[in-house]
Subunit: 497 residues, 2 copies
């Protein structure tokens, strides 16, 4: 396929109309095949491991000579497409992954053709992102004056939120001077099951793991406000500087929602930043049924959440909202001369998103959010969210009816944690880990695992808008069946428990 | 379009085969229109501002009810598509933006259908990313044992690289303890024109702006190694801790490449981290002609660079490579219990990319890099890079022949900086800023501006693989024409200079 082009005519576009025509044919072929792939998920295994031979082929295809677009597509179709993470499939229940939508293919195609860097400049892309942020501010009843930015996900959103908190609470010029001795005294408070992204953000920001104070929870996994108050008082007495409290809108293990209004009260009293980790749960705000559980979220100083989870925007796409735009901007603004804003033309247009986060290059992910909302509307998204909660309720009830299964946590939202009850002499953790791996390998379903009070749990996170009640039964049946198979293979006694 | 779905049947997929058929029709229509959009760029203005009416329509389309996929696409086509940043057009020469490729549409479509979160887990997506990183390591002659991760761009890559440097050079447990008093002494060295992303990374990492020591440059914009050595010695004498030196592989203002082997020597002698900011220039490594200018880059401890710039991968897509995997991983690893790796199944597979950067949710951008390389091969990419350097040489020569233009910097690589020579009494900076804005607004071409030694320059960054030598002439003619028009409008005398 190699043409001996000179540098001056070495465009990466097709060289002539027939080249454009074959590229067009490949694009249509890919569109058909990829749409079928999404539509027909139920007919393929949830997950299959990529064989080494396919990985080798992938590697061998990138070298000095190109294969052309048709051949590259065929290789993608054959060697990459079958080996996804599984989250598009209706029986994927692992971790907290959105399933995507077929309409998302249209949005991603447009995103690629527009190919905008939305770090700054005066473009329609920046205006679409502002429209999405304005919508999000309204959804969370944040003031119009609040700021925000789309991110790869809640991990980055948390980094940005806590950098804004640091800027707000430092009584010195922390952007110039750095943390210094005083900054080393900052402490952040969050319940035990709070996601590791908070600790990771504190490490990145130079505060270290020890800056995070893990606060005990009550029986339902909610932060204990009394203990929180005590801990803050102790730290103040020891000369430390309470910086922020993180409230959870859906913990990753069991989906617990902290008493956000209670956390807001503590933050008001103490004059510390109130951050909400709403990675998946915050979007429950769209549902009339679920919204009351998030009461208090509208008082947060910052909210981090993902569009690629419960809203099924194509990966990756998260968001941070910050109530006080001044602190947000002060934590990041640093435009160099070559990016100097101008009164008009391409270099005009405020705000520039590079002033609100660490990325100067950033794609047009806002288009995916906008498209999904334009296509489906809030109401359908809200119903899809409620549907996954109803499926969790159904699954929990089914688990409770099975004598050989036991639930390990309340299913307050959309996550059901349980295990196969070990028989005398069995290692329950090993058994359940093996059951999950085997259910995945057989392509039946893809739950994940977590540890609750030291015990390994099978964790089913119901998120997928494609799933049905029947999928819940297929999953439970599969788990029971696989457990018996594993026991037989080991020669364990098939006694009734 | 609203169906009164119950939550349990509220999927975001089409409800029936006819729904799938219309979605398919929209996808094909979009594919045709978007491919035309890329192909026919030369026939439309480089850039046009989005009118407020279109912005208002965009906003009004996201509400409680969805419009359906066909209507959402039509709105996208009418109100978003015409108002990009301009970088797809052959006469976009602003900032440092890649142009994308039409083959990239196939890759993005597949990325959306696969919809992988490549933060971790055992998937083909992770293996594609590893293949791309292995390719990059070979290109830069990094050891096989080196690590890396794809990022949104060089800004995030720089944060990751400097976090790894911090981890490597701290003689205490900086991940647990944070920077503390010792960490506050870290200093990083880089030439004056070094990109602001280095300063931004240091702020984010808690070191503050003052941790960056700007080192003088020689007449061609290269870091002065003598001054660098002196500055490090002074800082050591003052009890500070030199952490890293940043070498430039293409400064953003004029495209200067530091003496990277010289910087490597200083770093070896001083025992500090050698980071290369190769945002756009590092990929010159693919060209036999340009490669010698990067001599020394293979000795770096870390390299940050972008695939979306000189390689034209669809936005966003950057990369960081780290020579010593141990430090890289130690700076980020923090997997919580629900992500505990398993021996087999979906939760197996090493490495997990969330252990090498701050993102747990991260899309499958590796597919775009892989696809571009599979389609075109290194040789065509390399020739396209060389072509843009040849166009810069042509443009510089044309500018030098025009009496009313003057060059303001050497055009060492692919960036040409010049200005319209002001006439007596004219404010040269104001004139040139206005010329650039007007050339953009008329849709003729999109150069940007920068300041060189305090003087505002018209900056043409030649990157676009679609551009021709004729585009260079059209741009210069347009600039000369617009300057005269602006002078006429002001009543300035049309004297020959």
């Amino acid at each position: 396929m190699t043409s001996r082009k000179t540098p001056l005519d070495a465009t990466l576009d097709p060289a002539d109309p027939s080249g454009w025509a074959s590229l067009r044919a490949t694009l249509h072929e890919a569109a058909d095949r990829l749409l079928d792939h999404v539509r027909d998920q139920r007919e393929i295994p949830v997950w299959q491991e990529m064989p080494d031979a396919d990985a080798a082929r992938i590697t061998s295809l990138i070298g000095s000579e190109g294969a052309g677009v048709a051949e590259a597509w065929r290789a993608l179709e054959e060697h990459v497409l079958p080996f996804g993470v599984g989250n598009v499939h209706p029986r994927f229940m692992g971790w907290v992954n959105g399933a995507g939508t077929p309409g998302g293919l249209v949005a991603s195609l447009a995103e690629a053709a527009i190919n905008a860097n939305v770090g700054g400049r005066n473009s329609g892309a920046a205006r679409v992102e502002r429209a999405v942020l304005d919508w999000a501010k309204r959804a969370f009843r944040f003031p119009e004056s609040a700021s925000g930015i789309l991110t790869s996900g809640t991990s980055m959103a948390t980094v940005i939120a806590l950098a804004a908190a640091r800027q707000a609470l430092a009584d010195w010029d922390v952007e110039t001077e750095g943390l210094g001795t005083e900054g080393a005294r900052f402490r952040v408070y969050a319940s035990g099951p709070t996601h590791s992204c908070v600790e990771s953000a504190l490490r990145l920001l130079g505060l270290g793991r020890r800056a995070l104070r893990r606060i005990d929870t009550d029986g339902r996994g909610h932060i204990d406000l009394g203990v929180l108050r005590e801990r803050i008082a102790e730290d103040r007495a020891a000369g430390l500087r309470p910086l922020a409290v993180v409230g959870n809108a859906g913990t990753v293990d069991v989906g617990a929602i902290d008493d956000l209004a209670g956390v807001a009260d503590v933050c008001d009293e103490e004059g510390v930043w109130f951050h909400v980790d709403g990675a998946f749960g915050a979007l429950a705000i769209l549902s009339e049924r679920l919204r009351p559980r998030l009461a208090g979220i509208e008082r947060a100083d910052s909210i981090a959440f993902d569009f690629h989870k419960w809203m099924h925007v194509t990966y990756d796409c998260g968001c941070v909202l910050v109530r006080n735009e001044t602190h947000h901007r002060a934590a990041f603004r640093s435009r160099p001369e070559y990016l100097e804003g101008q009164r008009s033309g391409l270099a005009a247009g405020e705000p520039w998103f590079c002033d609100y986060g660490p990325e100067l290059s950033r794609g047009f992910r806002a288009l995916r959010v906008w498209f999904l909302l334009a296509e489906h509307g809030e109401d359908d998204v809200s119903r899809a969210i409620e549907g996954s909660v109803e499926r969790a309720e159904y699954l929990a009830a089914r688990v409770d009816r099975e004598a050989s299964l036991e639930r390990l946590a309340p299913a307050d939202l959309n996550i059901v944690c349980f295990r196969v009850v070990p028989r005398p002499g069995e290692d329950g953790d090993a058994l359940n880990a093996e059951v999950v791996a085997e259910v995945q390998k057989r392509g039946i379903a893809a739950p994940s695992t977590t540890r609750l009070g030291g015990t390994l749990a099978i964790r089913c996170c119901l998120m997928n808008h494609r799933a049905t009640l029947e999928d819940m039964d297929v999953t439970v049946d599969g788990i029971l069946h696989v457990a018996e198979d594993l026991r037989s293979a080991r020669g364990s006694p098939r006694v009734s428990p």
